[in-house]
Symmetry: C2
Subunit: 228 residues, 2 copies
């Protein structure tokens, strides 16, 4: 009954996964419906934002009642593209790459780790989390065979752009970058970044502000998104 051709704002898209996680918690319980107020509390935002965000998906709530958990879960999963699996390749099997490979949350949430690759010949052939590490030159074949849509870059900074270019050339158009480097991708691809040093430095800024309190009014606290 809702009009389909809505354009969902980027800020809203970034919050949908947080709502989804809240709904999944609820799905186990017997709670059939949930109000925007309660969902807001679980997601750490305010109720008006929840309602506005959800309204971009369609009019899935019932006035005076709330949102049906199961139905909203379904609609949101569909909108996020989570009714299918998205196999990922992890590029760069160092500390971070190995930790990511061992992270159970990927597969269980619909992002199976289809392949691990590295440019270092000494790493190729080793097994990590039951998967054999393959050479990055095999990327085009791997991507095609495994239908990989998402690439995770966990290499040193200096290799990041080259890896991104190789991923794109292999047809991988969604990239999650853990390397502390700026990467350029065409507008036809998506790029998200997770940069630990950047996050710590942001915290450092506000921490310093607080340490220097007493010089006047208090500074506001930061919010998060980054990678969320």
């Amino acid at each position: 009954m809702a009009d389909r051709p809505r354009r969902i704002p980027e800020a809203t898209v970034a919050r949908l996964p947080v709502y989804l996680r809240s709904l999944l918690q609820l799905a186990g319980e017997k709670t059939g419906t949930i109000s925007s107020e309660r969902l807001a509390e679980m997601a750490g935002v305010n109720a008006a934002k929840v309602r506005k965000d959800l309204s971009y998906l369609g009019s899935y709530g019932t006035r005076g009642v709330g949102y049906d958990v199961e139905y909203l879960l379904f609609q949101m999963s569909r909108e996020l593209g989570l009714t299918q699996d998205w196999p990922v390749v992890i590029v760069g099997i160092g500390n971070m790459g190995q930790a990511l490979a061992n992270y159970p949350g990927f597969t269980s949430r619909g992002f199976p780790i289809a392949a691990l690759v590295d440019a270092d010949a000494s790493k190729v052939g080793h097994e990590v989390h039951g998967k054999r590490v393959r050479h990055i030159d095999e990327l085009p074949d791997i991507a095609a065979e495994q239908h990989i849509a998402i690439g995770i870059i966990a290499t040193p900074a200096h290799a990041a752009q080259d890896v991104a270019d190789r991923l794109l050339a292999a047809g991988v158009t969604s990239i999650l970058n853990f390397a502390p480097a700026v990467i350029n991708v065409p507008a036809t691809a998506s790029l998200r970044k997770v940069d630990l040093a950047v996050e710590l430095q942001i915290l450092s800024f506000y921490q310093q502000q607080r340490d220097n309190e007493g010089d006047g009014a208090a500074a506001p606290a930061p919010s998060a998104d980054a990678a969320g």
Copy 2:
């Protein structure tokens, strides 16, 4: 010469570390000055944004010339609070916690890993990256002795809020959360989050949009911040 009492917008604070990294790359070279245009290219933003952002720090550029790399580097480090070290504690020594403990970028960038703690008695006493894992109950002592200002949460989701509360109680007011859970902190503390599942789901959304092309106009690509 510049007025001091400026309030730096949150979006700007989040970009300063990226500029800083670009400037550090330059510092090795002989380039004495840099234009907003070139810095913008390195940081992956546009020149107007660079100039606006830098203007919040003060008028450190020279018209017709550009910005002195060393001087800007110094001012930016100072503003970000990077003229001092900020010891961090990592809470939760599972896959992710261990990978973070082994990440060399922390210490080298002024965030020495002062302590590792876990609630699991079987992990306490083990060494990771040359550091002994201690029990989380020791947090108050550890925080005080090591002057810890930043806590990194790398626990399972269900433990995250409790860990955050313990960190705050121990006087740690900056938190970086890797657990896939919403955490509440008072306005007197800072919280940043890094959520892998959220990032992947955002990529999934745009990937699906692209897969469904042909139904009309193309969708815009997402940007990143999340954690950078």
